[in-house]
Structure formats: structure tokens, C-alpha cells
């Protein structure tokens, strides 16, 4: 005989199974929440390449080379121009306009980076030796995957003469 379960109007909804599920999801999500120090800029002009490296990036001054501009800590410094690649005319290369460049040096970028170093040095001299503030010359580079080496070299050269000599290329882990 078919048994019918009677549900009275004052019966509570049984939410134990839902609570079980929620608890598992909560633990899973808490575990997968990112704790990375470095923030990646999101833009249509910036697509990071993939890597097999598994080292996490650490915080430092950030230079972003997009297809349309160079940014330092989120602030636009130089606009870039694109021209056809002489080797493969169907592809584009990106470069700093000639009037914005002196040899390999990009003066506007140099000024901003030198200012950053000066600010850290001033802070270090005020705090004193025991304050733990010291200019380490570290720089995070977020570079679009299509940027040619010539532009990357000019940025690294400019950073080098502004005393930034330790580069971290931020990439997406495969």
C-alpha cells in the first residue's frame, strides 16, 4: 500500500542537506581565493603570454607595456605607435614614437622611474637604517605577448639607467 507522508502546515523546511552542501562549497571557495600580491591590469591591449614557471610574483614597481601605451603603476607615460613588421608585412610591430626616444632611452619613462627611486631613497633616509626601507631596484614587467624585443629592450635599458636592475616578468601559469 502506498504510504503518504503528511506534511503539516507548521512543519519546518529540512535544510540540513543544503547546509552540508553550502559548508563544502564555502571551504572550497575559501581555499581557492587568490592571495597574490600582484594585480594584473586588464585591457584589450594587454594579453600576457603563458609560461611553465611556477614562481609567484612579488610586489614592486610595475611597468606595463600594452600595445597602445606604456604605464608605470597604472599611470600612462608614453603612447605607442604601430607599424607593419618589415619581415612579415601582415603583422604589426609596436614602438615608441621617434620624437619620444633618445637612442635606446625613453626620457619620459626615465623621469618617472628616477622619481620613484628618489621617493624611496628620501623615505629611507628619513626612517634611517633600521627602518627596513631600502631601494632594491625591483621591477615588475607586464608585457603584451606581441610586443617586439626592440621595445622591451628599450624599456629595460631605460629602467637599468634609472637603477632598476631586477626584473620580474609576470605571466600566466599554464
Amino acid at each position: 500500500m502506498k504510504k503518504t507522508r503528511r506534511i503539516g502546515s507548521d512543519d519546518d523546511l529540512n535544510i540540513t542537506s543544503m547546509m552540508d552542501m553550502m559548508t563544502i562549497i564555502l571551504v572550497f571557495l575559501l581555499k581557492s581565493v587568490g592571495a597574490s600580491e600582484v594585480e594584473v591590469r586588464t585591457s584589450d591591449f594587454l594579453k600576457l603570454p603563458f609560461t611553465t614557471s611556477d614562481k609567484p610574483p612579488v610586489m614592486a614597481a610595475t611597468v606595463v607595456i600594452q600595445k597602445d601605451q606604456i604605464l608605470v603603476d597604472g599611470k600612462s607615460i608614453v603612447n605607442l605607435q604601430s607599424t607593419p613588421n618589415p619581415d612579415f608585412p601582415n603583422k604589426q610591430i609596436f614602438k615608441v614614437p621617434d620624437e619620444e626616444q633618445m637612442g635606446l632611452k625613453i626620457p619620459k619613462l626615465f623621469d618617472v622611474l628616477a622619481e620613484k627611486k628618489k621617493a624611496v631613497d628620501q623615505l629611507a633616509s628619513k626612517v634611517g637604517g633600521g627602518g627596513g626601507i631600502e631601494f632594491e631596484g625591483k621591477m615588475i614587467l607586464q608585457i603584451d605577448r606581441d610586443i617586439p624585443y626592440s621595445l622591451m629592450r628599450d624599456v629595460m635599458y631605460t629602467a637599468g639607467i634609472a637603477s632598476f636592475h631586477d626584473f620580474q616578468f609576470v605571466l600566466i601559469q599554464k
Binding site: 587568490g34 609560461t51 614557471s53 610574483p57 624585443y149
Partner: protein, 183 residues
């Protein structure tokens, strides 16, 4: 004073917890990492006061690998040829205008996929093994200098660095530096 009468068989009131969890789950879902970031380190070479290599050149210098990346393929510096071909360098590589050690199809590398990175890893493994067997692999030999042509895109450089790094169990050349480039 009013006393709240709680019956022993009353179910536990889970509504506040449910409220909290329902808010937490969307917040966490938004904050979940969609991508994992990684990094590759590179340092500019330091200036030292030690004698220049010309003054103190040993007869059998340790391995100092350079990888040259062009639109035709990937090569290594001539000084490292002896580690790749210990029995003797093939004649076409000693001639002027030698082809790349790992050429692309039709000598034209238009896309990232045209470069043969697996072959590069295999050749680098051979070079490291040969240098170790000749006792010419020192601490500085884990450095590799990249010499890319000026229009080589960044993604190709990253793939080359990945190929040269090896893996955690069998590291190859994990310390990367960039040279000024070919032109």
C-alpha cells in the same frame, strides 16, 4: 521579567547562518582566482672589477651559453658548438652565414608555433650533459644569455626561456639575461 519558553524539541534556528553563507558564497565566487600568475626573473649584469676575460682566459673555458633567436630559427653561440657536437662541428655550421641550429620550416618563423622548442630543450640537455662530463659546467654555467632579433615577439622569448629552464627535477639553464640584441 518575561521568560522565554524554549521547548526541548525545537529545531535549531539556522536562518542567520544561511544568510551569512548565502552572502559569502557570491563574494568568494567573485574573488576566486581565474588565472594563476607566475614570474620569470632576469637581472641586468653587474659591473665588476675582475680582470677581463681576455686577460684571464683559461684553455678550456666553462660553458657560457647564448641562445640566438632570429626569424629563421634558433641558434647557439659558436663557443658552445663543441658541447653539442663533441665529435666535430658539421661543416655547414663552420662556414660563413651558417644556418640556424634549429631552423624553422622553410627557414621562416612567422608564428610562435613555427619554432621547435622541444628540439631546443633536447639539444640543451645534450649540451649540459656534455659540459658536465668534461667538467666544464660551473655555477655560472646555469646562466643563459638570450640574443633575440629586434622584431621577435615577447611570447617567443617566454617560450624560449621555458624551454631553456628545464623542469624542477632536471634543471637546465634557469638564470636568464638579455643581451642588446642582434641589431
Amino acid at each position: 521579567m518575561a521568560k522565554r519558553n524554549v521547548r526541548k524539541d525545537d529545531p535549531l534556528n539556522l536562518v542567520p547562518i544561511m544568510n551569512l553563507v548565502t552572502i559569502l558564497i557570491p563574494v568568494l565566487l567573485v574573488a576566486v582566482k581565474a588565472v594563476t600568475l607566475a614570474m620569470i626573473e632576469s637581472k641586468l649584469p653587474a659591473i665588476s672589477n675582475s680582470p677581463s676575460p681576455a686577460e684571464a682566459k683559461p684553455e678550456e673555458p666553462p660553458l657560457a651559453l647564448k641562445i640566438i633567436i632570429t626569424q629563421k630559427g634558433i641558434s647557439i653561440n659558436k663557443e658552445s658548438y663543441g658541447f653539442l657536437w663533441p665529435e666535430g662541428t658539421p661543416p655547414q655550421y663552420t662556414a660563413e652565414g651558417a644556418p640556424p641550429v634549429i631552423p624553422c620550416k622553410n627557414n621562416r618563423c612567422e608564428n610562435e608555433e613555427d619554432y621547435k622548442f622541444d628540439e631546443l630543450t633536447t639539444k640543451l640537455r645534450k649540451i649540459r650533459a656534455e659540459a658536465e662530463s668534461q667538467n666544464r659546467f660551473e655555477d655560472s654555467s646555469t646562466n643563459v644569455v638570450l640574443l633575440p632579433d629586434k622584431y621577435i615577439p615577447y611570447r617567443v622569448l617566454v617560450r624560449t626561456m621555458d624551454a631553456a629552464r628545464g623542469d624542477n627535477d632536471n634543471p637546465l639553464f634557469p638564470v636568464v639575461a638579455f643581451a642588446g640584441g642582434l641589431n
